[in-house]
């Protein structure tokens, strides 16, 4: 029985985790992820790529919304900018993908300053709606900036190769997404354990006190915007690589709301939460579909008329029920488990 553990050196304190169990499970998970293409079929692999992209996007949004407390409904906009940045540079300008993908992120980061600077004084939902406005405006601009974005016609994204592998499908795409995900997660975890991450958290909790501690709000809020949208932009680039065709419909506003749902459901502010949330919400429709296929006969008239909507309703219901019983999200569930097991069999 582990009854909590004590750190002996400060080195342990700054490590991402000093818990052997966590380390070994993470290692096992990584190995499993690396071997996945050998073990699963193409569809599952595609799903996994989608999940990975969602993870990247959620971790990015979490920097801004979870960590810094700046609620953003502009996710769809940043995704779109990143995706278009990557697509245009890759397809129209012939950049190699290892350049165009981060470049798309950089474009999103640059654009984020356009939102960030005017919104510095905004709080809470006022900021949320302003970022929503941004998403609307981005989609409008993309539609009308035809010479660059091809406007309504959309762009076919192809020709992304790394070491001669086509990274737009199958295992190469999967490894690319996995690589990006691991990098992004590590990067964010690292930043979060330095003064920058603490500055963000401080701003979220009490901005005046944060200032009194020497934190420059302008700088750190903008930094959060830039880093977050860079990551989200890269996620957008991955989306464009995966589905290989983008137009503005791909980045519907509903994505912004789904993104927020992911990080809230996962547990605001925590990277692990964002990951869990992304996995959960991306796979939820799949789970629901399987469930209904088990209990219903496809092809019946009931099926064609109702089942699809019922699946949608079930999706909403699961979210609601989940929050009802676990308001602090999946990460809360996780913590409870941990608390329970480390205290077991003593209740408190």
């Amino acid at each position: 029985m582990r009854t909590g553990h004590f750190q002996e050196t400060t080195g342990q304190l700054i490590a991402l985790t000093d818990n052997r169990v966590v380390i070994s499970w993470t290692a096992a998970l990584l190995i499993a992820l690396v071997l996945a293409p050998l073990l699963v079929g193409n569809y599952v692999l595609t799903l996994m790529v989608t999940v990975l992209i969602a993870v990247v996007g959620a971790v990015g949004l979490n920097v801004l919304t979870g960590t810094t407390g700046l609620i953003s409904l502009g996710q769809a906009g940043f995704l779109a900018v990143g995706a278009y940045g990557n697509a245009v540079l890759l397809t129209d300008y012939g950049w190699p993908v290892w350049l165009s993908l981060p470049a798309g992120g950089l474009v999103a980061a640059a654009i984020s300053l356009l939102v960030g600077i005017p919104s510095l004084r905004l709080k809470g939902l006022y900021l949320a709606i302003t970022t929503l406005a941004f998403a609307f405006i981005v989609s409008h601009v993309i539609l009308y900036a035809e010479p660059i974005t091809h406007g309504p016609n959309g762009i076919f994204v192809n020709g992304a190769k790394i070491f001669g592998f086509n990274v737009q499908k199958g295992a190469p795409l999967y490894y690319l997404a996995l690589g990006v995900t691991v990098l992004v997660v590590l990067m964010v975890l690292n930043i979060q354990r330095t003064r920058i991450g603490r500055a963000w958290l401080a701003i979220r909790d009490h901005d005046i006190a944060a200032r009194a501690m020497g934190i420059d709000l302008t700088r750190y809020k903008l930094l959060a915007f830039v880093i977050s949208s860079f990551i989200v932009g890269v996620a957008g680039g991955l989306v464009s690589l995966q589905i290989r065709f983008i137009n503005i419909d791909v980045f519907a506003l509903i994505l912004s709301i789904e993104a927020l749902a992911i990080i809230i459901l996962g547990g605001l502010g925590s990277v692990a939460g964002a990951i869990l949330g992304a996995v959960f919400l991306t796979l939820l429709p799949e789970g629901i579909r399987l469930f209904f296929n088990l209990i219903l006969e496809p092809g019946s008239s009931f099926y064609t008329t109702y089942v699809y909507e019922i699946r949608g309703v079930a999706y909403g219901a699961v979210i609601v029920a989940f929050l009802r019983f676990k308001p602090d999200g999946l990460i809360g569930l996780w913590r409870d488990q941990k608390k329970f097991w480390s205290n077991w069999p003593l209740a408190y």
Partner: protein
């Protein structure tokens, strides 16, 4: 050159003059107390000194430097730290993280090295942790170390706030009603501690207090404010004799300790 100097400092909120034409000089290494009835403008004056609010007029110099128009976040770097009357802790963060945040301006990590977390970022972080642990140790809040501050009791939160201010490693420490909500033993501890800060670290402390016990016992000088203005200044003994002060603030035969 005096350490902290206020010249004609005034603050207006709409029609209300919360601080009016205050002149005040604090010398290096002093314990300087600011007292006065509720709403006298003490906290507002703190807010002006720490640049949380802009002054309406007047000027403030700190260690020979005009800080009147500097942004709030520059203060910590100059060696000024404060606590807040109404608790301004980072509620959802752990005690350690709150204290680490106080170290912000002494750390230099930039986003890139932070992302890599190698070399300097890592060394810095190790140093910061050690420093934070010292403070935690000192405040005797080891067992609260990893609890979110929001779940602590009022007095515990005050202590965390003090720890956070100490982490700034200030030369001037502003304490706004530090001992309120503490019992006598704890007050004595804090009082003793403030004296030590002065005597052994040479820290200058400016404090707002309603606890006359601590004010009279440990201050070198006391300034009394009333309706935004300064009505008396001097040594504790001088001030407590001053009839205006007795009239405006202390009251006769106070029950309060």
């Amino acid at each position: 050159m005096s350490f902290l100097h206020l010249e004609g400092v005034t603050k207006k909120f709409g029609g209300l003059t919360a601080v009016s034409n205050i002149n005040l000089t604090v010398e290096r290494g002093q314990i300087y107390s600011l007292i006065g009835p509720n709403g006298a403008g003490k906290t507002t004056l703190f807010n002006l000194i720490s640049s949380v609010l802009p002054v309406s007029s007047g000027s403030i110099t700190f260690d020979g430097r005009d800080i009147t128009r500097l942004p709030t976040h520059a203060m910590a770097g100059l060696g000024m730290a404060r606590t807040f009357q109404n608790l301004a802790v980072f509620k959802h963060e752990t005690v350690v993280n709150n204290i680490l945040t106080g170290l912000h301006s002494q750390l230099k990590t930039d986003p890139l090295s932070a992302a890599v977390f190698w070399g300097r970022a890592r060394k810095e972080e190790l140093w910061a942790r050690e420093r934070a642990e010292e403070i935690i140790d000192f405040l005797e809040i080891e067992d609260l170390r990893n609890l979110p501050v929001g779940t602590l009791s009022y007095g515990q939160q005050k202590r965390v706030e003090l720890g956070r201010a100490l982490a700034v490693n200030p030369r001037l420490l502003l304490l706004d009603e530090m001992v309120s909500g503490m019992n006598q033993e704890e007050r004595e501890d804090i009082g003793r501690f403030v004296l030590d800060l002065k005597e052994e670290l040479g820290m200058t402390v400016l404090m707002v207090e309603h606890d006359m016990g601590i004010v009279m016992d440990i201050s070198d000088r006391v300034c009394v404010m009333h309706h935004g203005a300064r009505i008396a200044e001097g040594t504790p003994a001088e001030v407590s004799e001053n009839p205006d002060v007795i009239e405006a603030y202390l009251g006769g035969g106070s029950r309060a300790a």
